[in-house]
């Protein structure tokens, strides 16, 4: 029985050229992995590749034991969810409506929502502490509220793996700490795994189980935060 959610072997990724030398890693259930690295080192491209939005440049990438390209799109979306840093914020859309979009992979062709969908939406709204402003327009929220609303949207997808691109990009320190705490709780309670990119190494050290460190020259190192630090993998950040 294959217990890994994601299994990459000799994976190289990139659009027209590979951004990295091949590397392998496994993601078990209930782990928080932070992806760190300088700008332009391919962190977002890596997440998009994991999500199946870009085909791997070479190597193999298994999602729940099956090659990512072979999943039907809808089935894939039930297992892996991605939230981009540069998310368009549509006007006139309430938080509830946005969160409800997370149920799209489960909807029929008329995009209707069942009682079960409503229950899940309400659950994730409570979980992320967004229920009180569920009726407000998402464009009118503060950055902290909006990041939680988009997290709720991802959670509503009921995926086993959630990829977050710079979830703390617009947040101040208390909001960042709260967000990471919330993620940690979800990891422990629901056995969901998060892979998130961040420039906040302090948070990565404090909360992540392992760090994927991109060195900016195509090298990728994976390990427990302190191990990586001892190996000098964070030299680009002068740590």
């Amino acid at each position: 029985m294959n217990t890994f959610l994601i299994q990459a072997e000799n994976l190289r990724f990139g659009y027209d050229r590979a951004l990295n030398t091949g590397f392998s890693f496994e993601l078990p259930a209930g782990e928080l992995i932070a992806v760190a690295g300088p700008n332009g080192s391919g962190k977002t491209t890596f997440l998009k590749t994991l999500a199946g939005l870009i085909s791997p440049y070479s190597g193999s990438l298994l999602l729940c034991g099956k090659e990512i390209r072979e999943w039907r799109l809808k089935e894939r979306a039930r297992r892996i969810s991605i939230q981009f840093a540069t998310q368009t914020v549509p006007p006139l859309m309430t938080v509830y409506e946005v969160v409800s979009l997370g149920r799209t992979p489960y909807a029929d062709i008329w995009d209707s929502r069942t009682e079960e969908d409503a229950q899940i939406i309400n659950k994730v709204l409570k979980q992320t502490n967004t229920a009180e402003f569920a009726g407000r327009e998402i464009a009118s929220l503060s950055d902290g509220e909006r990041s939680r609303a988009f997290l709720a949207r991802s959670l509503a997808q009921c995926a086993k793996v959630i990829l977050l691109d710079e979830p703390s990009a617009f947040l101040d320190i208390p909001h960042t700490v709260n967000l990471f705490r919330l993620l940690k709780t979800i990891v422990q309670e629901e056995k969901i795994s998060f892979v998130l990119t961040t420039h906040n190494l302090e948070m990565a050290f404090r909360f992540s189980d392992r760090i994927l460190c991109f060195d900016g020259n195509g090298g990728i190192h994976l390990g427990k935060p302190l191990e990586l630090k001892e190996k000098g993998c964070f030299s680009w950040a002068e740590i």
């Binding site: 799109l73 089935e75 998310q87 368009t88 006139l92 979009l101 062709i109 008329w110 995009d111």
Partner: protein
Amino acid sequence: MLTALFAFLTLALGAVEFSFWDLFYTLLNPGVKSPEALILWEFRFPRVIAAILAGASLSVSGLVLQTVFNNPLASPFLLGVNSGAGLGIALVCFLGGVFASFGIIPAATLGAFAVVSLILICSRYFENSLSLLILGLMIGYFIDSFVSLLIYFGDAESLRGYISWGFGSFSRLTLSEIPLFAGFVILGMLPVLFSIRYLNTARLGDSFAESLGIDLKKSRFAVLLGASILAAVTTVYCGPVSFIGVAVPHLTYGIFKSSNHRVLIPGCILCGALIALAAGLVPGIPLHAVTSLIGVPVVLWVLLRPQMKRWRKR
């Protein structure tokens, strides 16, 4: 939400009442072959149907294009439909010869669908919706300039024929053409209705939709196909009625306060049919002018009302 929908349904039927039911009741009692019956069935009835079909299809077409292109100013004519139909008609009017034997409606149909298919084929190769938008506009301009040339070299009599098509009218439809028109409208609605999931997610961006398990290229093609059929068939039968496709979606957002296409599509059908009926009440005047004359105040009222409330509070 449902009540709003039903309230609106009655409203939409109410608009028919003024022109239709009065006559209808007088007609039920006497013999069917009276002159009124003739007027009713031969002229009035097709006009009502034309208005409903045209209003509904232009609105839905405009709505989904605004969603796909993520641009509140997108209209059905972005797909080059009116340019194509215009070109077909201009060829018939001005060149004569082989083209003249075609007749207006087949020529417009051919022109509209030729241009639309060109843009649809291109759409398969464009990742980015914005470049597709620009492509549509450019092809439209390109063809319009052709038409201008034809007009410049044409004679006055042909010009009149061309311009009267350009005014737009619901009166051109005859009873026998209704099934064909309606058939095309249904054909155009189907791919749109089957893509509601895509439409609802597309407003948050293409990659967002894709990450939720939507087959982006397929869905976008289906929606564009549906929108072009709707716009093309309406333009062919009723002329270029520009206003409805841009305005009614905004009217619908304002009234239904939703961004869900499960609500917006029926809403657009109702609002579009209503506006088109209201505009079509005045026969003889160019539709192009009437739709905007009636529509602009209505849309402005709906759009500005929430802001007015805010101003009053200050």
